[in-house]
């Protein structure tokens, strides 16, 4: 996929649309986690696709803001999307859970400016997750649930404990991409179950 900022004619928009929409839909699935289904913040009444195309539109208006040295165009768009979701969440008066990651942040602060777009997504995503959750207990719950499923166990170990990416896990545990994808699917099911189990809004804890 081309990421040349100066030549939009080479961009595979079809791939961008499909992958960015999938990322955003998957990412927003975590919305009800710890917040309850009725949260009004976050999407502000719009559809996921509206945010996807708003992020693309913003890039088209100011393509010079995209720096290919900091990652692919898709990563840049993901970062901008996540940023706008967090900003929406903070703007809502009823929200008192999101960390104010924008405090002192002027469009792009210096620390952020030096990191890659993919690295920047993590702190913005983390801002949406409350601090008063026992994350160690969630870890133990997931560990217990994946016990006996070697692939899911390895993927969990690689990602959670060692902060590995997909490619690293595949290499480290000498598994095929298909085995990884299937294992990741099972692990995602467990993560969703863990989220439901520990969701304080559903009073399951």
């Amino acid at each position: 996929m081309s990421t040349d900022t100066g030549n939009q004619a080479n961009i595979d928009w079809e791939e961008i649309i499909v992958r960015l929409t999938a990322f955003t839909r998957s990412w927003t699935r975590g919305k009800p986690w710890f917040r309850g289904e009725k949260t009004t913040t976050f999407l502000m009444g719009k559809e996921v696709e509206d945010y996807v195309f708003a992020a693309i539109g913003k890039y088209l208006e100011e393509p010079e803001k995209f720096d290919p040295d900091k990652g692919e165009l898709l990563e840049y768009l993901k970062y901008n999307l996540v940023r706008s979701f967090v900003a929406n969440d903070l703007r809502k008066k009823e929200n008192n859970q999101t960390d104010d990651i924008f405090a002192g942040d002027n469009e792009e602060d210096e620390d952020e400016g030096s990191s890659s777009y993919s690295e920047r997504v993590l702190p913005y995503t983390a801002a949406l997750f409350p601090d008063d959750i026992d994350y160690s207990a969630i870890k133990k719950y997931i560990e217990k649930e994946v016990q006996g499923d070697a692939d899911a166990e390895n993927i969990f170990l690689g990602i959670y404990t060692y902060g590995m990416k997909r490619r690293d896990v595949i290499e480290e545990f000498t598994m095929t991409a298909v085995v990884f994808d299937n294992g990741m699917r099972r692990l995602t099911t467990v993560i969703n179950r863990a989220a439901a189990h520990f969701n304080k809004n559903t009073q399951t804890v």
């Binding site: 992958r19 998957s26 870890k139 404990t161 993560i191």
Partner: protein, 138 residues
């Protein structure tokens, strides 16, 4: 929040993010995920491409308008500069022609009126100011 809790949260968020990354890891993976969500990918793409084309046209139009406005503004600067220059008591056209390498434009200087000279200089300085790095973003 303690450092340990902070780390556990960060590890968990990383795990959460990796599920979204995996769902969009490739075009095929993304299509499979969207299909599982009941999304009509073909419709999403065809409507999306139309939206992008429209946004591209609007962005291009806006850029052209900005460039035209910037050019007008630079032309105004150049005009003021030239008028000031021509009004200067020390002004010497031959010196200026040499300094600015304008001999081609003024090769028939004897046939040029004052207005012609002024217009040539305005055009020259407009282009010169526009090419200055400071004016690139105007």
């Amino acid at each position: 929040m303690s450092k340990k809790t902070n780390q556990s949260k960060s590890d968990f968020v990383n795990l959460f993010l990796s599920t979204a990354e995996n769902d969009s890891n490739s075009k095929e993976a993304a299509k499979a995920f969207l299909a599982s969500e009941g999304i009509n990918t073909e419709k999403l793409v065809s409507e999306g491409l139309k939206r992008i084309k429209k946004m591209q046209m609007l962005a291009d139009a806006s850029r052209t308008e900005n460039e035209m406005q910037a050019a007008e503004s630079v032309k105004g600067e150049a005009t003021a500069w030239v008028d000031n220059l021509l009004a200067s008591i020390n002004f010497s056209l031959p010196e200026l022609v040499q300094r600015e390498e304008l001999s081609m434009s003024f090769r028939n200087v004897e046939n040029l009126s004052k207005d012609d000279i002024r217009n040539i200089l305005i055009r020259h300085f407009t282009l010169k100011f526009m090419n200055k790095p400071d004016n690139n973003e105007k």
